[in-house]
């Protein structure tokens, strides 16, 4: 049985903000199925009472002195932006037209 369907892959692509093509969906569905069936092996390990590890370095609450240090100028920060205006990142339309008008 497949671990994941073509429809589920299409849903994942939407969640991932990837405008994939129909052709890609065909390819990815098969490939993701193989990968997911393989990684599902982690389920074989009896680990119900084992604590999870998110990180190998046991550091918590890393703080620094609250002093001002040089940072990027607005010009530097915007230097790689596809579009900028008035020292700000310019984004495409974020509201529906009827709301915007």
């Amino acid at each position: 049985m497949a671990a994941i369907s073509r429809e589920e892959v299409a849903h994942l692509a939407r969640l991932s903000r990837l405008a994939v093509t129909e052709e890609e969906l065909d390819t990815f569905a098969g490939q993701l199925d193989v990968i997911l069936q393989s990684v599902a092996q982690v389920g074989e390990v009896a680990a119900a009472d084992i604590p999870p590890t998110s990180h190998s370095v046991p550091l918590t609450n890393v703080l620094r002195e609250d002093v001002v240090v040089p940072g990027l100028t607005p010009q530097e920060a915007l230097s790689g932006a596809p579009d900028a205006e008035e020292q700000r990142f310019r984004v495409p339309r974020i509201l529906d037209e009827d709301v915007a008008s």
Binding site: L12, A19, L36, G80
Partner: protein, 491 residues
């Protein structure tokens, strides 16, 4: 006349310090070599000719003024394109960052500059460091100098190939699941993954933040240690950076080079000596184990029962972190923007930008990660993988109660032909079978050339306890002193 491109970094630094050659001469020799061979190797995505020569002139001027130069002053270094370089293009091997010139240096690059090394340029890599062959670069594959029809490993294939092609004596890589060590093994060069947190991730374009570790690549163990010493150490700008002194890796490499391992216990992992590795690789490994025993090391065989689950756990954890990290590529702050016609919404433009800017492997991993983190699947996939990570860490801890270091082949197979594994992504993942456990644990590991199989290099991996990076350099240098180095055929 001495061919400056054939020297080790330590030798070059000595000649520059002694005034027998200049940093400019050394740099020009490497730029000439790049111009002569890189159209065939494709190790570099960008060569910073002017910047390199200016940095070299700076070193020569400081030397002329009588300044005390560091141990790598005047030595050229190639930097994997995953680290930001101020004003110098940084693409991470991806179309989504094509043409981006970062406004700041990563900590590793800042330290390279402060040490007087000369940055030659940026090296090719699998897109966003996801891959084991450099075939997933958006800018074409790098080729293995041992055989141009074969892969140079990945993701840092460019950094490894640049060494093997004598285009640079030193390079920087980053290791999330083996991306320094596996390219080192298949190109006959040395690659070291420091303890996680031992080198700063500031300015390293993030793939999997709990695993990503920048580190040194070189043609000799001593050179790798010298480079390690320069780039490692606490960085307040990385909150996962370990606030502790850097282990004496250079001293350990020199000690190891004396060829005496008396009193050291080395563990051979049962799970890594059975199925999975090519016979030629296992033969070279077995010979090296005997060589290490002759140097005085005691060899112990032991079991790490959860290592067989490291690969599946990694391919849940790393994609999960990547799906979150790569959300920053939204077509707003840097890089590509596609389809902004004034009518499309932000979300539509974002989806079109990411579709056009990311390659297939990056898309696969983003989707796998999104799946593993989604409600209903989280416990069975990401949550379970994190528990397996705990068990793998416990295996390491238990092993290091019995032995000083663990050894294994670095990779299951020698460099495979370009194109052999791209059709089946999971076949590609198997290249990292032996390197991944260390990343999940967070300890240091190094790959050192140990022999040839079918005329292609084989690497031996030494894994040490967290913050005992010096120990792996000692073992690697000892092995190097007895098996020697391996020179590829002339290009």
């Amino acid at each position: 006349m001495t061919d400056l491109t054939r020297l080790s970094a330590a030798e070059i630094a000595g000649l520059v310090a002694g005034g027998e050659t200049s940093a400019v001469e050394v740099t020009q020799a490497h730029l000439d070599r790049i111009a002569a061979v890189d159209d065939r190797v494709n190790a570099f995505l960008y060569v910073d000719t002017e910047g390199a020569l200016a940095a070299a002139r700076g070193v020569d001027e400081r030397r002329a003024a009588g300044e005390d130069l560091g141990p790598l002053a005047g030595v050229p270094v190639a930097v994997k394109d995953v680290l930001t370089t101020k004003g110098v293009p940084t693409t991470v091997g991806s179309k989504i960052l094509e043409g981006w010139r970062p406004p700041y240096d990563s900590t590793v690059v800042e330290r390279l500059r402060a040490a007087g090394t000369v940055m030659l340029g940026k090296t090719n890599m699998d897109e966003f460091a996801m891959g084991s062959s450099t075939e997933y670069s958006a800018y074409g594959p790098t080729r293995n100098p041992w055989n141009l029809d074969r892969i140079p490993g990945g993701s840092g294939g460019g950094s490894a190939a640049a060494l093997a092609a004598y285009e640079a004596p030193l390079s920087i890589g980053s290791d999330t699941g083996g991306s320094i060590r596996q390219p080192g093994a298949v190109t006959g060069t040395v690659g070291a993954k420091p303890t996680y947190g031992g080198t700063s991730r500031y300015g390293l374009v993030a793939f999997s933040s709990s695993l990503d570790t920048p580190g040194p690549c070189a043609r000799t163990v001593l050179d790798a240690a010298l480079l390690h010493q320069v780039i490692a150490g606490h960085d307040p700008r990385d909150s996962t950076s370990i606030p502790a002194p850097v282990p004496d890796v250079v001293g350990a490499a020199r000690l190891g080079a004396t060829g005496d391992l008396t009193g050291m216990k080395l563990g051979v992992i049962t799970e890594f000596t059975g199925e999975g590795a090519e016979p030629g690789v296992m033969a070279a490994f077995r010979e090296s184990v005997e060589a290490l025993a002759k140097l005085g090391a005691e060899i112990v065989e032991l079991s790490c029962p959860h290592f067989r689950y490291a690969l599946p756990a990694y391919y849940l954890i790393a994609p999960s972190e990547c799906s979150s990290n790569l959300a920053r590529f939204d077509g707003v702050r840097f890089g590509l923007r596609v389809g902004d016609d004034g009518n499309r919404s932000l979300e539509e433009v974002m989806s079109l930008t990411r579709e056009a800017g990311f390659g297939p492997e990056v898309k696969r991993r983003i989707m796998i990660g999104t799946y593993a983190l989604s409600s209903g699947y989280y416990d069975a996939y990401y949550g379970q993988a994190q528990k397996v990570r705990t068990l793998i860490t416990r295996d390491f801890t238990a092993a290091f109660e019995q032995v000083d270091a663990l050894i294994s082949p670095t990779t299951p197979f020698v460099a495979f032909p370009i194109g052999a594994r791209t059709a089946d992504p999971y076949q590609m993942y198997l290249a990292d079978l032996f390197t991944i456990p260390t990343n999940l644990y967070g300890g240091p590991a190094i790959s050192v050339p140990c022999g040839l199989s079918e005329g292609l290099p084989v690497g031996l991996q030494v894994m040490a306890p967290t913050m005992a990076d010096d120990r792996m350099y000692r073992v690697a240098a000892a092995l190097e002193s007895t098996v020697g180095s391996f020179t590829p055929p002339a290009l």
